[in-house]
Amino acid sequence: MEIENLDHYSQIILSLAALVMLSSFIMLAQGRLLRLVFVFAVQGFMLVSATAIAAYSFNNPHLYISAAITLALKVIFIPWMLRRHILKLNMHRDVEALNNKTAIMMGGASLVVFSYYVLHPIMQNSSMVLLNALSLSLAVILLGMLLMISHHQAIAHVVGFMSIENGLFFAATVSTNGMPMVVELGVAFDVLVAAVLFGIFFLHINSSIDSLDVDKMNRLNEVDQ
C-alpha cells in the first residue's frame, strides 16, 4: 500500500509520528535544559494531536480521554514542573557539553533503521501505518534511552524517561487504538507519581551532591581505585 492511497488522517498521523521522532532527535542533540524541556512539551503536544486525530478517525471516544490525560500530564504538568526546578536550582544557564554529538546522531539514525529492521518481518501482514507507527515509536523509545545515556543531567534523564513513555503511549494509541482504559489510567497514575517522585529526588540529590550531574553519583561502585 502506497502512502498516496491512504486517507488523510493516516497521512497526518504518519507525519506527526515523523515529527515526534524528529523531536526526539532534537532532544538528543540539545544541551540546554530549558530548550530540552520545551522540545519535550512540543513532542507531547504532537502526541496529543496524533491521539486526538486517531480518536476522531477511528471513532474511538476513549482515546480522547487518553489525549486529555496526556495533555495534562506531559504537555503541561511535567514540563512545568521541570522548568520550575531548573529555574529554582539555577540551571537554566548551564549548557551540557555533549561529546561526540555526530556519533550520537549517527547512532540515533541507525536506531531508526534498526527499529524498522526489527519490526518489519512481523508486520508484513499489517498496514503500512501500523508498521511505520510502531517502528517510529520503538525508535522514540530507543532514542529516549540514548538520550539518557548521552546526557548527564538528572533532568535530562527525566526528560528521556518521559520521552520513552511518550513512545510507548504513541505505540499504544496508533497500533492498538489505545490500551484498555484501566491500564491507561494505571499507567497515567504511575507516570504522575513518578513525576512527583522525580521532583522530590531533584531536591534530595541537589542537597546531597550539590548538583544534578548523575556522573557525580558514583559512590556505589566496585571498581578498584
Binding site: 510507548l168 499504544a172 491500564v183
Partner: protein, 487 residues
Amino acid sequence: MIPAYLLLLLPLLGILYFGLLGHKEDVGKQNIRFNGVTLLLSLWLAVNVFLSGTILSTDQYFIVDSFNVYLIVLTAFVGFTTSIFSAPYMAHEQEIGKLTANRLRLYYSMYQGFMFAMYLVLTTNNMGIMWVAMEAATLATVLLVSLYRTPESIEAAWKYFILCGVGIAQALFGTILLYYAAIQISDVDNALTWSVLYENAKLLDPEILEIAFVFMLIGYGTKIGLVPLHNWLPDAHSEGPTPMSAVLSGLLLNDALYAVVRNKMLVDGATDSHIAGYLMMGFGMLSFLVAAFFLHRQKDIKRLFSYSSIEHMGLMTFAFGIGTPFATFAALLHMTVHSLTKSAIFVTVGHAAQISGTQSIEKIRGLIKTQPQVGWGLLIGTLAIAGFPPFGVFASEFLVLLATMQSYPWLAPFLLLGIGIACAGLFRNIQPMVYGEKPEGQQAVQANLWPVMIHLAIVLWLGLAMPDFLADWFTQATILISGSAPL
C-alpha cells in the same frame, strides 16, 4: 474470590492507616497485625484453591491458580515474618536517631503499599494491570531505599528508580505488542486477559510474541536482577533499611520472575521454537555465573547477599528456561526456599549491622562471641543459601541439576562451577564476621530471631521431607506451567 479481594483491600487500608497514624508508638505491632491478617487471608485463599482449583473472578480481572496462590502465601508469610523483625529493628533505628517519626510513618505506609502492589501483581489476570502494579511496586519502594537520606541512599534510590523505570518501560512495550497480537484474535476487552490469551495462545502470531517476549524479559528481567541489567539491585539492597532488603530479595524479585514466567507460558503456547526458554536460560546462566564472581569482592554485607540473590534468581530463571516439568518443579521449590532463606539472612544481617554499627564486612567481627544467636543464625543461613544439605536449597539445586543433566548435560558443569565459586565467595566473607574474638566495645542488641528460626526450620523441613500437600501443590503449579507432572 472474597479472600482475594480482602487480601488486596487490607494493604490498601494499611497505606491509609499508617499514612495517617504511622507516627504512633506501637506502630510496629500494628504492622505485624496487618500482615498477620493478610497471612490468614492468603491461607484461606490457598485452601480454596487447593480444594476447588483455579478461581477466576467473574469480571475476569483476577485469577488465582495453583501457581500464583503459592506465591501469594509465600509473599504473605515473608511479609508477616519480616514485619515481626522490622518492629524492633526500626524502633532501634529510631532510638539511635537515624530516623524520625515521620519517616517511620512513610516506612510503614509504603510497606503496606509494597505489599499491595505485590498482591496485585500476583492476583491480576490482566497483563496491563500486572505492569502497572509492578511499576507501583517500584514507586512504593523507591522512597524506602532513600529512607535514610544519606548521599549513598539517594544515589541508590535514583539508580533504582531510573534503571527500573526504563527497564519496565520496555516491558510495557512488550505488553503493547502482546496486546497488538491479541486484538487480532480476540475482542478488545479481553485482549490483555491472561486466561483468555492462554487458552488461545496457539492463535497468537508467534513472531510478534517472540519480540514482545524480548521486551518483557528485558523489562521484568531488570527487576529480577538479571545480569547485565542488575546494577541497581545491590545498591538498592544495601542502602535501604534491612527489612526492605529482605522483602525486596524475598518477594519483589520472585514476583518479577512470576511475570516473566506468565509471559513465557503464552509465548510457549504460540510457538514451538522454545526461544523464550533459551533466552531465559542464557540470561539465567550468565547471571548465575557473574554474580558468583561478584560475591568474592564485596565489602558491604548487604551487597554481598544481594549478589547472592542475583545468583539465585539466575538459577531460577535458568530452571524455568529449561521448562521441563522437572526443572519447573525445581524452580518453584527454589523460589520458595530462596525467599525464606534470604529473608532470614537479611534479618540476621540487619542485627549484625546494628551490633557493630556498620555494614562494612571488615568491621563486623566475632558475632558468635558477641551474640551467639545472631552469629549462628547468619552462619547457618549462609550454609543454607550456599546449597548445603539438609536444607531445602540443596534439594532444589539438586533437582535443577538433575533437570539440566537430562536436557542439557553440557551445562551442568557450569552450574556446579557457579555453585562452588559462590560458596567460596560467601564463606570467605562470612567466616571472619561470625568467628573470632569480639572487638572492643561491641554489644549485643535486642533482637527477635523467631523469623529466622521459623524460616530456617521450614527450609530444613523442605530439604528433609517435603510434605505431601506441598508437593501436590507444586505439582499442580508445575502442570500448569509446563504441561505435565514431574515423574
